[in-house]
Amino acid sequence: MAAETPVRTLIAPAEMNRRTGRFLYRFVLVATLTGFTVAFVFPLYWMTTGAVKSSSELADQNLSLFPRSWHPESYADAWTNVGLGQFFLNTLLLAFGAWLTQLLIDVSAAYALSKLRPVLGNVVLGMMLATLMLPVSALLVPTYLTVVDVPLFHVNLINTPFAIWLPAAANAFNIFILKRFFDQIPVELLDSARIDGAGTLRVLISVVLPLSRPVLAVVSIFAVVGVWKDFLWPMLVLPDEAKQPITVALNRLSEFMPANQLLAGMVMASIPLLVLFLIFQRHIIAGLTAGSLKG
């Protein structure tokens, strides 16, 4: 990685260029690079290679950095024999549905609050944002009981994907960052589209959305990642084992599965998120700071 443009930080360039400075810098650089690799990359390596070791090698007291014998079939076994493939697909369905519902519901809500500005819109927004202050775990029990018997509709969402999708759509963070982004789109642009005869929905689809690609990316990534990583909520609302996502299934099966197949399953559960991260690093980090920094 090339050196970035120098910005004045804690240590002065002059101090850095002295002999001891240069030596210290190299030392710290090497220590950080190796330290981080060992601490954060090595566990992933361990997991991935552990999956292709034999069961006896995994149980051996003498640990091996490289697999002594290769058994890539444990991935296939975990996928088919243990049925992790099905659980993986379940997660995919849950994540895709959550992504779709959140985009549909939250984008249109943010559009209404930002550009259509109905009477009492700010009150609604305030009530939505107020939920951000509430700890999720304090609402675990009442939300669970709500999902068991949804008021007004009196349906039981347990063991349906809606139990994941709909509560996820009540996401004030999404609405907040979407609205803030929509606010920056000049009204004149929407007005000129209106004059050209575009209706309210048409303005959203052909003017607002194309301009909002960065924020849509952030919302999409967080929607998918959030559902993919979740454990407690799907464990509660999807007791039917055939419908569980891979995170819940892995924990349930972890006691019974052979160690190498368990590791293979863990790799499967992680790879989509890691790939997503490698592709969308910039967006993920941008969303991270957007959510927490600006007070």
Partner: protein
């Protein structure tokens, strides 16, 4: 938070299509208002149509559970019959449970340890990363990798690392001729082990937030301090930390709020053991609700958790308000 007055909205929308307006010649008085009001009502209806699904989701899965959660603590809830009011009964039973106090103590201990590790590590990391001119994006990426792992994977992986038999950690200790540890099986060490995983898994987020904040400190401040003869350590103490004070306070509070709700770590790694040493508030709440099906008791616990976390939230709000 002001409500947009109706007349204001009507004024605006009426102005929008001035050139295109056809129809009866505008007259003074009520007649001129009627089309305006009608138009305003229609625009509001369209707006609420777009807002409807969102409001419904919030109403059903957020606002209603908030109200219900506040009431549930005072009710006895079974699926067989309608909820019954029992007053403070749930709270009384809660205080009678010897595990109740243990859970709060354990949670407090976890939070404290998590602050010691989880506060120092990301800050130190961010300060070092901010000085490095090489490999920054690689380091930034690696520190965030654990955040992207599903927590359950992290826990299952670390459970293998902590394994007293062929576990990685004890093997490493052996290389350095150090005694093997009962990571998760010893009462003294179990909680520390949980905090270690938790810190590993979560420090990426805080580190990147600090890094962004460090990048915003004006370089002139350091130059001025340097001209005044401040050493690197003095500059860190008198420039970096004061400049970061706000963001440090915020992450401190968020971390307290987050770690007080610790669940996955004890649930997967220790199940609350050994000898209840890692039973946390949320783990106990989970048992009340979903093992014993005593939703009233669990809700009383939620209410207490909410009150405690609410105090921190109020401080958080105060801080962000005064800044923004």
């Amino acid at each position: 938070m002001s409500v947009q007055p109706l007349s204001d909205a009507a004024e605006k929308t009426a102005g929008d299509d001035g050139p295109r307006r056809s129809g009866p010649r505008p007259r003074r008085g009520a007649a001129i208002l009627n089309p305006r009001i009608r138009r305003a009502v229609r625009e509001n209806l369209v707006a609420y149509l777009f807002l409807a699904a969102g409001v419904l989701c919030f109403a059903l899965f957020s606002w209603y559970p908030i109200v219900r959660g506040a009431l549930l603590g005072f009710q006895q809830v079974t699926f067989a019959e309608p909820a019954r009011w029992v007053g403070l009964d749930n709270f009384r039973r809660l205080f009678d449970d010897p595990l109740f106090l243990t859970a709060w103590q354990n949670t407090g201990y976890f939070t404290l340890l998590a602050l010691v590790f989880g506060f120092a590590a990301p800050f130190a990391t961010a300060v070092v990363l901010n000085e490095l001119r090489h490999g920054r994006s690689y380091l930034r990426m690696t520190v965030y990798l654990p955040v992207m792992l599903p927590p359950i994977v992290t826990m299952l992986l670390w459970r293998q690392f902590y394994d007293p038999g062929p576990g990685l950690f004890n093997s490493v200790l052996e290389v350095f001729r150090l005694p093997a540890q009962q990571w998760l099986e010893s009462e003294n060490l179990a909680m520390v082990s949980l905090v270690l995983v938790s810190t590993w898994a979560n420090m990426g987020t805080t580190t990147l937030i600090y890094l962004a904040a460090l990048g915003g400190i004006p370089g002139e401040l350091y130059e001025a301090a340097e001209l005044d003869g401040a050493s690197v350590r003095q500059r860190l103490w008198h420039v970096t930390i004061p400049q970061m004070r706000f963001i440090l306070m915020i992450t401190l509070l968020l971390q307290v709020i987050g770690t007080m709700q610790v669940f996955v770590e004890p649930f997967v790694l220790t199940g609350g053991g050994p000898d209840d040493a890692t039973v946390t508030v949320l783990l106990l709440l989970y048992r009340y609700a979903f093992v014993y099906n005593d939703f009233g008791l669990a809700s009383a616990m939620s209410t207490l958790l909410f009150v405690v976390l609410g105090l921190f939230s109020v401080v958080y709000l105060r801080l962000t308000r005064s800044k923004g």
